[in-house]
Each structure stands twice: as C-alpha cells, then as structure tokens.
Symmetry: C2
Subunit: 413 residues, 2 copies
Amino acid sequence: MISLADLQRRIDAGDLSPHAAIAQSLEAIGAQDRTIGAFVCRAEHVHAASAGPLCGIAVGIKDIMDTVDFPTEMGSPIYRGFRPRGDAAVVMMLKQAGASIIGKTTTTAFASVDPTPTLNPRNHGHTPGGSSSGSAAAVAAGMIPLALGTQTGGSVIRPASFCGVAAIKPSYRLLPTVGVKCYSWTLDTVGLFAAGVDDVARGLAAMTGRPELLLPPSIPTPRIGVVTQDFAGRPEAAGGEALRIATKAAERAGASVRALALPEIIAEAWQAHSVIQEFEAHQALAWEYRENYEAMAPLLRARLDESRGLTPAAYDEAMGVASRARHALAKVFEEVDVLLTLSAPGAAPQGLGSTGDARYNRLWTLMGVPCVNVPAHIADGGLPVGVQVIARYGADAAALTAARFVEGALMRQ
Amino acid sequence: MISLADLQRRIDAGDLSPHAAIAQSLEAIGAQDRTIGAFVCRAEHVHAASAGPLCGIAVGIKDIMDTVDFPTEMGSPIYRGFRPRGDAAVVMMLKQAGASIIGKTTTTAFASVDPTPTLNPRNHGHTPGGSSSGSAAAVAAGMIPLALGTQTGGSVIRPASFCGVAAIKPSYRLLPTVGVKCYSWTLDTVGLFAAGVDDVARGLAAMTGRPELLLPPSIPTPRIGVVTQDFAGRPEAAGGEALRIATKAAERAGASVRALALPEIIAEAWQAHSVIQEFEAHQALAWEYRENYEAMAPLLRARLDESRGLTPAAYDEAMGVASRARHALAKVFEEVDVLLTLSAPGAAPQGLGSTGDARYNRLWTLMGVPCVNVPAHIADGGLPVGVQVIARYGADAAALTAARFVEGALMRQ
C-alpha cells in the first residue's frame, strides 16, 4: 500500500515531487484497475498542487459525491452521465489542502447493498465489502494513498476490515455531507480510507484544518473496554479471533483492558437503526424510488418495498430511543477512553453476491461516535479481519490515538 | 389571499374541480406577477392530480430546491440553467400528497441577503423580506395557496411578517433538506407559507403524513410566555406594537399570559448563531466562493470575506453553547406551552436595498424549535407586522394550535 505519511515525508524532504507522487498512483491504477475495478472513471492528466499538506496526494472519491471534473453516477443508471454543477464540500476540503482528485470510485447503488463488480485485492474471489467498495479496494491494492467513502450502516468500517486497510468514520458531521447523495440524514457520515492509522489521521487533520487530530509524538496508553455486541448475534470464528488477538495485544502492550456490558437501551438503539435508516431513505430517495422504480437496483428496491409501511410514529419512537442511547453511551465513556469491538462478523464473504453484514457497525453510526478500523488478523485465504476502536462523540483524536496504540501493539506481536 | 382550507372544502364538496383550482392560480399569476415578480419560472400547463389531500393545490417552490420540471438556479448566475437530476424530498412529498408544482419562486442568492427584484404585495415600495422573497410574496398577493421556503437565520418568519401571511418554520428536520441547497446544515430548515394558520397546518400535515398536525376541532387555551429578546436589541415602534396587540388579544381571549426572562445561556446562543452559520457556509459554499468568486452576490461575498478567519475552535465552542441553550430552553417550556415574541423588528423596510433584519429569528432557528408567524398589526403604509408563536422542539402541533388561538383572538378584536 502507499503510505500517505511516507509520501508527505518524502515530498517535504524534497526527495519526491508532488507530480511524481501522483504519477505513481496513475501508474498503479493503470497496472491494476483493469483487474480490481475500483474506479468508475479517472483523470487522464492530473494536476499536482505545489503547496498544502496534501500536495502530491492522489485521492479517490466515492461516486455518490458531487464532482465538477467527473460525472457523478451514484452507482445507478438513473444518474448515468450526471454532471453536478459544483464539488461536494469534502471534495473542496481536499482541494484546498492541496490534494489531487484522481477519479471516482465504485459504490453500490445509492450506497446501499447491491454489489459492484469490484474485487477484493487480498483475494479476488471475495467481495471488498460495501458500499464504499472502490475506495477500500483502491487503497488496499496500493493504487492511491487516500480515499473517501460514506457510512450509513457499516459502509466504511466493514470494507476497510475486509480489505485490510485503516479507516475512520469520524464523529457525526465533523465532515459535511453537502453535495453527497443522501440515504439517511441522521446516519450518513463521510469517512476516510488509508494504509494506516497515522495516514488516516493526517488526511482528516488536513481536510478539517484541525492539527489536534494528528497523532501525538508519544502515544498514551488507553483504558479500553471490550464489547462483543451480543445483541447483534455471535461473530464467525475469524471475527472473534480478530477481537481476541487485538485484545491480547493491547493488554500485552500495557493497556488497561476489561470486558464491558452495554446498557439495555443500547441494544434497543441497535434495533432502531434500521427504522431510522429506511424511514429517511423513503424521503431521501423518493424521486428515484417513485419515478424510476424499474431502474432501481433490485436489493435496494426490495428493501424499500419492505419498509414502505414504516410510520412517522415508529420513526419518532426510534429517534427517541437513539437520543436516550446516546446519553447512556456518554456515561460508558466515563469509565474507559475507548471501546474495542468487532468491525465485521468475519472475513469478506466469498463471491460478489453480497457486500457482507453491517450488524456490528450500525449502532455506532447511529450513536454518531468516531470509529477507526485497525487490521488485526489474517484469516484463511489471506483475508484480513479488522477491529474497531471507538471513542466518545467529538473525541476523534482520542479514537485515532488509541487506534494507533492498538495498531502498534499488533505490529509488535 | 387564496385559502388552502377553503379550496380543500370546495374540492371535497364537489363545488370546485382540482383543475379549476389550479387554473385560478395560473390566472392570478398571469395578472399579477409581471408587477410583483415572485416567480423565477412557472409552468405553462399544470396537471392537477385527482386524489390526495393537496389535489388542486398549486404550490410555489423556492428556487434553491431541486426540481426536475424546472431549472434550479439558486438566485445566482453561477447556477444559470442548472437542471437537477431529481426532485428535492419536500417536492416529492408535495407531489405524493397530490399537489401541483406551479413554479419556482425568487430567492436571494443561496438564500443569503442580496435582495431579489420581488415587490411586497402590500406596498410595492417595500421589500417582501427574504431570503424566501417570492414564496412569501406569491402567497400574500393571492397567486397561490401554498409555498415552500427555507430559514437559516430568519428567512421564513421575517418575510411572512413583512407580507402579512401565516408561515411555519417546523422543528429541525421534521421536513428533510435533501435536494435543498445548503447554507448551514445545523440551521437550514424548510418552511411553509399560506394564508392562515389552518392552511399552514393542512399543508404540513399532508406533506408529512402526520394528521396530528391538523388543528383540533376545539382550540385549547394556551399558557403563553411573552419574551422580548432584549439581547437582540429593542424593536421599532411597529414591532413592539404588534407584540403588545397580540399579547392583549390573547389575554382578552382567556389565555394565561406572562412575561418571561430567558436564561443567560440563551443570549449566548443568539451570539453563537452567526459563528455556526458562517463557519458551515464556508464549507457548504466552498465551490461557489472559491471557484466562482467574481460571480458571487456582493453582500454574501462580503459576509464570507469577513468570516474567513473563523476557527474550528470557535465553531466547536458555539456548538457547545447551542447544545446547552437547547437544554435550558426545554426547561422554560415546563412553565408555559408556547412563547410569544417578535417576528421582526418592525414593518418591511422601504425600497429593495435590504431584505430586513433576522435578529429576532436566528435564536429560534438555532434552537430547532417550531415557530409560526401570525399577522398581528397593520403599520403605516398598510404594512403588516407579525408575531411568532414558538413551542418546544417536536411540538409542532402545539405551536400551530396556539398560533391559531392567537390568530382567532386577534380577529375577534
């Protein structure tokens, strides 16, 4: 993989020109993307900025985010050839930081669950996960050092786990969703994929102009609460193994680690997620669903068909549960700095029939708390499995720092 | 003005066809809009639905909301001729309820403060207010029974006050902003304009599928707290007079009315509003401001120039104040059902140089609470002045019902 931190150091030292850094990505894409299929479209000639913390950094943008320089097709024929008038807010943040937008990455239709043809770079017989399929795969394949995705259920953390890359789903609205196709305004969250935790932190700090998100020179030892999310069912063997390995590594590295039971309202919130997601999707995708029914991707359409009967009362009840659960979760963080839990039930499923299961992700999206994926285990078939490090709402720096601690502990094993 | 409730009754009774109801609006627009200038563009032939609670209701849509049937130009040459691929969520809600979209109404550029050429139908020498200038004016002139606008500072309640129409800015995200041009995601709120409170309630109930928003057959007598928002400065004579008249009328009608002082954190939140609004606008309008600087409307551009130095730390601090103020405001509503306060400092300013002052609106937008404008007074020059009735977050039905009480009390004077 291409390390963003490494590129920054070499560019800062004058050992690599921003132009050469971009050229390296263009070459890697040329060599690999015919097989992997991570890009929907890409630039032939890319301008490298001469300044900014991300100059020389080639970035892939999930194709539900508006771009003036590329069509924005939402993974759906309904948007074939669509040209937005402006760039999404996060695309402008990247440009202002000096990054070069190198292309648009594949997305399931409207960031839902219908698989794209993208292959998992770790094992071509498996899905890279979704909905941010192309962004996770492009970073994992070493084509680009940074990519943007979005998560409404588990669309950032899950593909990162399946592809063996670092990723952050930041606190709700730390990154704006302006110009990003909406599925659920209460849930949709823009996230970043990169080779490692330091790379992700550098990307997020540069985009937001928040240097406090950069990792500190010395990583403090966190108090970690391990949660198994039993309300979401049991993991597969590989998922459980990843969590055991990460827990042991953190303990060995000196962290205070203990198992935590979450309050009952948290399990209710896990249930409430899908009510909120689908109720809002019926409004957010009303034009697509009602005026373009035949052209809708089949799994998404079936999901919307099934949830047509959701009432405003059910939605209001679910939003109330979510609000109470957020307060309860804030109290949990009085006892620990971060939570450590499963990123996915197991390794990437075989074939391209499914993008996998978001059941260990959706609660945290609804809670709006920052989640960082750290690769923890390699299962059969060379397939990576990650764990996620989760901090309280707004404590993105704490999530990144603790994730770096876990990443370092796993490397020293 | 055209009463939505009256149209509904006549259509239900078979005394008026939906087609004839729409034709009435087309004719009124043809007769008046050359003078008033409320519409950016409008349909030549309008289809009337045969069913749905809003069948036969012609609706004007503020031109920052995406429509497939009309260009969406945001009040700015930067979006000249722009055709979105789909309809905004609120436009689809109207269509699903049977309404007919009759045209797009004028908006200040990106719903900010640069005036449109629209005249105030009550006195052509005055502004109709903004940013939802055309929506307020089109309803006030009797061209259409219902129009959509948005409020980030005071862009629904203020023009409603200046034009003498009813309007609601509902609770934050009761109506989705998907497909509505963003200025500030924490503040932007879609609202409705109609002739009276009952008309507004019917529109909102039909759009949301929430019959509980319809007025009850018998209007209960509310406990009212009168607030003068001293932190926002003193009103003009006409503004103060409107509040006095409404207060007296409510008292005479039997309401429990008392003056309320708001907690100190509320005044801080009033200050915090502009920090949040402009910090987010720099992200939401980054493409427009940075890539189209010369084409930006001058007052908006100057506002963005001035606020360039806003830091993430200042924004985080302002968001923290807003959160504490929302909790404090919720406590205020333990003592009263609704608040009654100024909708604007006074009557509509003369000329078209300014859309007026949002200083009595912005706090409530930031609090996310439902606000209903009720016309209360006619000042010199035949210019209306309104008051706003405000309920706790989520209590839109209570806000509408109490506003209807105040409206009825004012009519009986």
